[in-house]
Amino acid sequence: MQETNAINRRTFVSYTAATAGVLALAGCADTDGTDTDDTDTDDTAEDDLETMPEFLEVEDPPDAVYVPTHREAMRMLEPVEAGDMMVAPMLSYPHPFWIVAGTGADSLERTDPEDDRGVHMMFTVWDRETGVVLPVDDGAQIQVERDGESVGSPVSPWTMISQEMGFHFGDNVSLPEDGTYTVEVTLPPLSTRTTGDLEGRLEESATATFEFTYDDEFRHEVVGGVEYFDEDIWGERGALEPMDHGEHGHGDDGHDHGDHDDHGDHEEGHNHDHEDHDDHADHDGHDDEHDHDDGHDHGDHDEHDHHAVPYSALPEIDAYPGTILVDPEEGDVPDVTEDLPESGDARFLATVLESDHRLAEAEAYLLVSPRTPYNRVPLADMSMTATVERDGEVLEESALEQTIDGTYDLHYGASVPELEAGDTVTIETETPPQVARHQGYETAFLEMPLLELQVPEQ
C-alpha cells in the first residue's frame, strides 16, 4: 500500500518551532511560513535516529484541557475500505497515554510504551455514506503481521482522544525490527444504538488491511517531526488545533486562519506545517456550517482527494434544532461550544426536540452532546442520568442512552415530557468518558459534577 501524506514532512523544525508555538497561540499568525529546514538539526538527527522522542511533561497541569508540551508528528496512510466503513490509519512514535477504567482515583493509569521501537498506531473509522466518524468501541481488533507471521498477540485497540487526531482507536505497538508490516483490522457490527441515516446500518462485521514500513525514513519523518512548544505555554488552558487530515499541495497559500480568530474557538497553537494547514482556508469557513461530517471534512477537496479523512468534530451549536438548554445563570444560548455549560471541562450541548422531530417519539427527546471545549471531539462511553424538574418537582428521571445519529453523530438521548421555559434539567454524570487520552486531555473529563441546565425563556 502506498503511503501518503507525510504530515510534518519538513521535520526538524522542532526546536525553532517553539517560538512559533507562542506566536501561534497569540493569534494564529501565519508563522514559519518559510519553513527553512533546520538542516543542522536534521543532520545530527540523521546520524543517530531516535526511535522515541523525549516525552516532556507539564508540571501540575490544570484539571482541564490544556496545551501539551509538543505537537505529535505522524504519518498518515491511505484510508482503506472496510465494508461500508473507511479506516484511516495514522502512525506516530510510541508515547505515553492514559487509560481510564472506572470512576475512582485508581481508574486512571498512565501507560508508558514497553518498547521504544515501534509505533503509536491509530486509526479513525467512519461511515462512507454519511461521513460520520464512529466514536465508540464495539470491539475493534488488530493483528500485526510480518511475512505472514503474527507479530505479538492480537490487540483490541483503545478508544482514545487526542487534540490533534480527535477520536481514534490506538495503541503502542512494539516492532522489534525494521521492515514492512501488514495490519489486519476487524470491526465488529456496531452495537451502539443508531438513529437517522445510520439506523439499521453497519450491522455486519468488516475487515480492512493496510501496510506500512518501519525504517529510518519513518523515524526521520515522525520521530524527528515532533515540535516542542515554548515552555511558557505548556499547561495553559486551550488545545492544539486538529491536524489537517487531507492531502494537499494545492490550495491557496497562507492567510487563511482568519476565520479561526473570528470565532475564536481555538486558543491554541495550531500553525506549523502551514502548508498543510493552508487548506484550512476552505474548511474554516465551513466549520460554521456544522454538518456532522465537517470539522475538518474537506468539502470541496473530496472530489479530487480520496485521502481526506474527517476529523471527529461534532457540529457547532447552531446546527442543532430544538430548544437548547442554557446555564440558568446565563440565560442565553452561546454561539460557540467553548461557551456552553461545562462539567469537568466538557461542554454540554443539550437540546430538547419537540415530539415532531424524527428523534422524538411520543414525547420530546432530550439530546445531550458532551464534547471537548475547543475541538468539539465527542466524549464517548459516559453514563449520565437527566432529571427534569418543574417548580421544584421531579417530572422525570431518565438514563441517557449512547447513540450515534447520521446527522448529529455521538450523543446521549432519552424521552422526556414536553418542557416549558424555566424547567430545569440536571445532568448527573455517573461515569466520565471511558476513553484513553493523549497528553492534554488526561486531566479533564474525570471529575464531572452535576450540571444544572434550564429551558430558556423564549
Binding site: I99, G102, T103, G104, E114, S156, W158, S383, T431, Q434
Partner: protein
C-alpha cells in the same frame, strides 16, 4: 518433527516445549531432561479398570487440593485431536476400549499418574444421522459478535493430564504405536487403525503456580506476569464456590446418563495491555468486580480469597449498576449471573498455552448441556450492560479463534458410542 533448542530455553520451558511438540523423540528428550531413562517414578494404575468411576470426568476425588481446599488440576495437558479411520463396529470399539484400559492399568488415576477423557463431536455423530440421545450437543457456532472462530470438526478428542510431562507424552505415544511400553506395562492394543491423530490440531498447555511466569521468553508474555500466578492473567481461578460440582455437570437422563458435555474454546490473550498498561486495581475490577478492587479482597494473585471467589449475591446483582455507575464490570461477577439457584453451571478445567508461540488459553468447560455453556457465555458477553467494551470484564483481552463441542460419554460407553446406545 523438530525438537526445541535446549540451549535456548530454561529446563522447564524446554520440557514444556517438548510436550508441545509431542511424539517419540520428544518423549525421549523429555526423559533425558528429567534425568533418567525410565523417567520419574510414576505409580502404576489399577488391575481392575472397571473399578474406576463410571464418569470419565470424575477427576476431582483423585486430584489434589490447595490449602484452601480448591481442586488443583494436573500441571501438563495435551488435547489430541482424532479422526476416525474405520467403520464403527464392535471390533473398533473393542480396540478403543482396550487401548484406553491400557492407560488405566499403566498409570495411577491422578496427578502422579494420569487422568484423561475421550469426547466425541457432533461431526462424529453425523455418521449415525442423529444427535446423541437426550444430550444437548449442537454444532459449535460463534458465541460473540466479534469472533469468527474455526471449529473442531474432527471426530474425537483425548484430553490427557498429568503432573509429569513425560507421562502425557508417553501415554500419547503408547496409544499411537510409538512406544511399546507405558510406565513399564506392555502395550498390547493401541488406537492405530481406529484413529488417526491430527497433528495440526494437537493442543497443549500447563497450569499451576509459577508456570506462566516461566514463559516470559515467549513473545507477548511480559516480565510482569507474577511469579506465583497459576494463570497467565495473573490470578488464581477455580475457587470451589465458583465451580460446578461434578454432579451438577453430569447428564442425568437417557442412555448417556453419567456423561457430560465439554466445550473447548481456544483463545489468544493480550497480556501486554493487561500487565504493562493497566494497574492492579484495574485488573482486579475487570477480572473479579469493582468491589473486589475497592476492598482489596484478592491480594496480589487471588491468594487472599481462600476458597471463595468472593462473589456474593450482592456483588453478582450489582453487575448492572457497576456498569452504569462505575463504568467497569468484573468478568467473574458478570459470568456468575448465569448461576442457577445460586450454583455455577460450568466446571472449568481450562489451562494456559503458548501453542503458536503466543500466550493463550484453552478454555475447557464441562456442563450438563452445551446450552448451559452458551448461557454462561452470553452472561459473560454482557451485551445487556451499559459499559465500554474495554471495561466489560476481560473481553478486550481475549481473542477466540476456535470452538468445539463434545459429548464425554460415561466410561462404559466411551468407545465409539452410537447416537443411541440403548436401541
Amino acid at each position: 518433527m523438530t525438537l526445541p533448542d535446549q540451549s535456548a530455553l530454561s529446563r522447564r520451558d524446554y520440557i514444556r516445549a517438548l510436550v508441545a511438540v509431542g511424539g517419540a523423540s520428544a518423549l525421549s528428550a523429555c526423559l533425558d531432561a528429567v534425568g533418567s531413562d525410565d523417567g520419574p517414578d510414576v505409580p502404576s494404575g489399577t488391575d481392575n479398570p472397571a473399578s474406576l468411576p463410571d464418569r470419565q470426568h470424575a477427576w476431582n476425588d483423585a486430584l489434589a487440593r490447595d490449602d484452601d481446599g480448591n481442586v488443583q488440576l494436573p500441571d501438563h495437558h495435551v488435547l489430541v485431536a482424532l479422526s476416525l479411520e474405520t467403520e464403527v463396529d464392535d471390533e473398533a470399539r473393542e480396540t478403543t476400549e482396550q487401548a484406553l484400559r491400557t492407560l488405566e492399568r499403566a498409570y495411577e488415576w491422578g496427578h502422579e499418574g494420569l487422568v484423561f477423557t475421550i469426547g466425541y463431536t457432533p461431526a462424529y455423530f453425523d455418521r449415525f444421522e442423529a444427535s446423541p440421545a437426550e444430550v444437548d450437543l449442537p454444532e459449535p457456532e460463534p458465541l460473540a459478535d466479534d469472533e469468527t472462530p474455526e471449529y473442531d470438526e474432527f471426530d474425537a478428542l483425548l484430553h490427557l493430564a498429568s503432573d509429569h510431562p513425560s507421562v502425557v507424552l508417553e501415554a500419547e505415544a503408547g496409544l499411537f504405536g510409538e512406544r511399546d511400553r507405558v510406565n513399564g506395562l506392555e502395550v498390547e492394543t493401541d488406537l492405530t487403525g481406529v484413529f488417526d491423530r491430527l497433528d495440526d490440531r494437537r493442543r497443549t498447555g500447563f497450569i499451576g503456580e509459577g508456570l506462566p511466569a516461566e514463559h516470559t521468553d515467549v513473545s507477548g508474555v511480559p516480565d510482569a506476569v507474577p511469579e506465583d500466578a497459576p494463570f497467565f492473567m495473573g490470578f488464581r481461578a477455580g475457587f470451589t464456590d465458583s465451580q460446578a460440582t461434578e454432579d451438577r455437570v453430569t447428564i442425568e437422563d437417557g442412555p448417556f446418563a453419567g456423561g457430560t458435555t465439554q466445550h473447548i474454546s481456544s483463545m489468544a490473550i493480550n497480556l501486554t495491555q493487561w500487565f504493562d498498561q493497566e494497574n492492579h486495581y484495574q485488573r482486579v475490577s475487570k477480572l473479579f468486580s469493582p468491589e473486589h478492587a475497592d476492598e482489596e479482597l484478592t491480594g496480589s494473585v487471588g491468594e487472599a480469597l481462600g476458597a471463595s471467589s468472593g462473589l456474593t449475591t450482592d456483588r453478582i446483582e450489582a453487575t448492572e449498576v457497576d456498569a452504569r455507575e462505575g463504568g467497569v464490570v468484573g468478568h467473574a461477577q458478570k459470568a456468575a449471573r448465569a448461576r442457577e439457584d445460586g450454583q455455577p453451571l460450568l466446571l472449568r478445567r481450562d489451562f494456559n498455552t503458548v501453542d503458536g508461540d503466543q500466550p493463550g488459553l484453552h478454555f475447557l468447560a464441562l456442563q450438563r448441556g452445551i446450552d448451559h455453556f452458551v448461557r454462561v457465555r452470553e452472561a459473560m458477553n454482557g451485551d445487556d450492560l451499559d459499559v465500554a467494551t474495554a471495561n466489560n470484564g476481560i473481553l478486550h483481552y481475549l481473542f477466540v479463534d476456535r470452538r468445539g463441542n463434545y459429548l464425554i460419554p460415561p466410561r462404559p460407553l466411551r468407545a465409539l458410542p452410537s447416537a443411541d446406545p440403548t436401541s
